[in-house]
């Protein structure tokens, strides 16, 4: 039995009956799925039946921190939130940092399953074993910073940590986020799931500790980890000062920072207006996650025009893309303001920005007119239009209402051939990499269990040139199936499941990741993990997530990319001339399914593979 890391308890909260009960964290689940996203996906598959309405009372919302979260291992305040996504219909899993993840552990829980639906707006307060359901009527309609503050006041506890939704989640906007502190469970519309349950917020405070099985062993494992952090050429020397925005410069240099809805990627250097140099002029401090000596998270203050005085945490690289590059906005202060506004309203910055960029292209092509936009001149680069539409989105008003459920739903409503300009996979908008110049990253978008998601199988070999496990030619399609499987499995198993900040993977432990995770987990939990076990756990989690999607009707045909990526070569920059042809995508998919031991025709996991991974029961549900 585990002797540390896990608190051994899962909190089940039923909003319909307003009851809470505690269940044991099963040891086999700990062994096989590690925790975090692994627990989320296991519980989702087992408890949410096929065809469950994502916004109905039978869908569940599962918060799970990792076994490392709440210990003294740095950079491990991470939690996953898992549900059936209303945006994609597939697994919706997203992660967040800050302090909430460790409070969940200190309150005594490895995971929290939220089910049912409250009749009235409610929030749940948790202090260790004390779980209370409180009216959220007065909070309904409130933005996220105010919501967090009012709850702290109500509970007479300024140290309580709150995860909440804004108006977007309340209005069941399918790109709504959940906000905890300055951070976001941003993607896949998980905020809408909370809203559909009439759950405004969860406030949590823990006074316990997370036990450690072997303190000496942990000291040694921790030393290896922190040494790797210190030796990194990037982590402390650069990343700690600049944060993620340096990736604007890096991706622009190699011609894959998307601009103007992917029409002009590489044709101009967006880093000149949105890159690190400009960003640093707005930096006023940092706001690290709990237990993080790196502190990449930056606070930025807008300094000009109508935006002057607006403070936000971020904008992260992805948001520099969604409210900058892809919308053609070159005003850093507008990006800062939009970032703050989206977090206050509880909107995913990526999906909302890409949806606005989609509408901008349609407007410039004449598919949307001024009549459709309610008089807004929706050209690329119009930052005021972007801000207006963001507000509209959260309340389903005007043109913002048309875009509020993402590009796929908007294209279906608009018709007129607009789908070919909609940059999404499975309904999830593309993150900030033009994958025409990074083909494994493209295959990852096509096959990730959440849709177009950079966080699942990030192809750092292509983006950053890191030669692990080997050097990779970003323009080639060959070999990318195997690589993508590896990228997805290792990241799942070393960051998403144990509860480790993914930046530490790329920038510190990439060469020793499986061993590092195995050593830390063994020391903390007292269970036995080899590096191979870690990779197999990653594979198991990815297979189970895939099985969930197959059970929902997803097939190989859904593992695709937007038409523009498949047909239009990049016209400028360091990736000029490249695209992912349909033949290349097919080749990569064949290779990927083969590497995974999945049916090449359907993309479904085979019974043999599921049996090999110890989850054969799953196969019975896939016919």
């Amino acid at each position: 039995m585990y002797q540390g890391g896990y608190t051994g308890k899962i909190l089940r909260i039923n909003l319909g009956s307003q009851t809470a009960k505690v269940e044991e964290t099963p040891e086999p689940m700990a062994n096989d799925f590690i925790g975090g996203a692994g627990f989320g996906i296991k519980l989702l598959f087992d408890e949410v039946k096929a065809n469950t309405d994502p916004l109905g009372p039978d869908n569940k919302l599962i918060f799970a921190s990792g076994p490392l979260s709440g210990t003294n291992v740095p950079c491990t305040s991470r939690m996953s939130v898992t549900s059936r996504s209303p945006l994609t219909g597939a697994v919706g899993m997203a992660l967040s940092g800050g302090y909430f993840p460790v409070e969940l552990k200190w309150a005594g829980y490895d995971a929290m399953i939220i089910e049912g639906k409250s009749e009235e707006p409610v929030y749940v307060s948790i202090k260790d074993g004390d779980v209370k359901f409180r009216s959220a009527k007065k909070l309904w309609g409130m933005k996220t910073t105010d919501t967090q503050q009012i709850i702290k006041n109500d509970l007479h506890d300024q140290n309580v940590r709150v995860a909440c939704i804004g108006p977007a989640g309340e209005n069941k906007i399918k790109i709504a986020s959940i906000i905890n502190e300055w951070r976001a469970v941003g993607r896949k519309g998980l905020g809408a799931v909370m809203g559909s349950k009439n759950l405004k917020a969860i406030a949590i405070r823990g006074t316990g500790k997370v036990a450690v099985a072997d303190k000496e062993k942990l000291k040694a494992a921790r030393k290896v980890f922190t040494e790797a952090m210190k030796e990194s050429e990037v982590l402390y020397p650069v990343f700690a000062n600049t944060g993620t925005p340096m990736v604007v410069d890096a991706t622009s240099a190699i011609g894959i920072f998307p601009t103007r809805n992917y029409m002009t990627t590489g044709e101009y250097n967006a880093a000149e207006t949105l890159g690190v140099e400009v960003q640093m002029t707005r930096n006023v401090g940092s706001e690290p996650c709990y237990g993080c000596p790196v502190g990449c998270s930056q606070l930025k203050l807008a300094k000009t025009g109508a935006y002057e005085g607006i403070l936000t945490e971020g904008p992260e690289f992805e948001t520099m893309y969604s409210y900058g590059g892809v919308t053609g906005v070159d005003n850093i202060d507008a990006v800062i303001a939009a970032d703050r506004l989206a977090d206050e309203l509880g909107l995913d910055t990526i999906s909302s920005g890409v949806s606005i960029a989609f509408a901008m292209e349609l407007y410039e092509k004449g598919i949307l007119t001024k009549e459709d936009t309610g008089g807004i001149e929706l050209n690329f680069g119009n930052d005021q239009a972007m801000i207006t539409i963001l507000k509209q989105m959260a309340y389903r008003q005007g043109i913002g209402g048309l875009l509020a459920d993402g590009t796929k739903a908007a294209a279906e409503k608009i018709g007129k051939g607009s789908e070919k300009y909609a940059m999404h996979v499975k309904g999830l908008e593309l993150p900030a990499y033009d994958v025409r110049g990074a083909k494994a990253h493209g295959l990852n978008y096509a096959t990730s269990y959440t849709g177009a998601d950079h966080c699942r199988g990030y192809a750092f070999q292509e983006i950053f040139g890191i030669p692990v496990p080997y050097e990779v030619d970003r323009f080639s399609a060959e070999g990318k199936g195997k690589l993508t499987k590896w990228n997805q499995d290792i990241r799942t198993a070393t960051t998403d499941a144990p509860g480790m900040c993914a930046f530490l993977f790329d920038m510190a432990v990439v060469g020793i990741a499986a061993q590092n995770t195995a050593s830390l987990l063994e020391a903390v939990t007292g269970l036995t993990f080899t590096p191979d076990d870690i990779l197999v756990a990653g594979e198991r989690i990815n297979n189970l997530a895939r099985a969930f999607n197959v059970r929902e009707g997803f097939t190989r045909a859904d593992d695709t990319l937007p038409e523009r990526i498949l047909t239009e070569p990049l016209k400028g920059g360091a990736s000029k001339g490249n695209y992912i042809s349909r033949d290349e995508l097919d080749l990569m998919l064949d290779e990927y399914y083969t590497a995974r031991g999945w049916d090449v025709a359907t993309g479904a996991p085979s019974r043999e593979k599921l049996a090999e991974l110890g989850i054969e029961y799953v196969a019975d549900q896939l016919n």
């Binding site: 600049t242 340096m246 190699i254 900030a432 750092f460 950053f464 920038m507």
Partner: protein, 96 residues
């Protein structure tokens, strides 16, 4: 003579004072020649960022010619450059 563009970012850009440099090189000049020319012009501060104490290129420096990593070019550092080629010199990055 040929004209070659050099593009760099972040700390390397700081040392050079700008991100884009135009160089006039002899015909047949290689990637290595470009680096040597740069080092001659910008001195130790650039040398320290690119090379180890034995003169070897630091393993995390990423070099590209027209967007292709030189590890995938047959002659690697000895790749001969053509008129108008762009050489990218990228310091280590992370954090997407």
């Amino acid at each position: 003579m040929i004209q070659v563009k050099v593009h760099t970012i972040l700390n390397l850009k700081k040392i050079l004072g700008r991100g884009d440099i135009d160089l006039t090189m002899k015909e047949g000049s290689t990637v290595k020649d470009v680096l040597m020319t740069m080092v001659e012009t910008y001195g130790d501060s650039l040398t320290d960022q690119l090379f180890d104490s034995e003169g070897g290129l630091l393993p995390y420096i990423r070099l590209m010619v027209n967007g292709r990593d030189i590890v995938f070019l047959e002659k690697k550092m000895e790749t001969a450059l053509q008129e108008g080629d762009e050489v990218l010199i990228l310091p280590p990055v992370g954090g997407g």
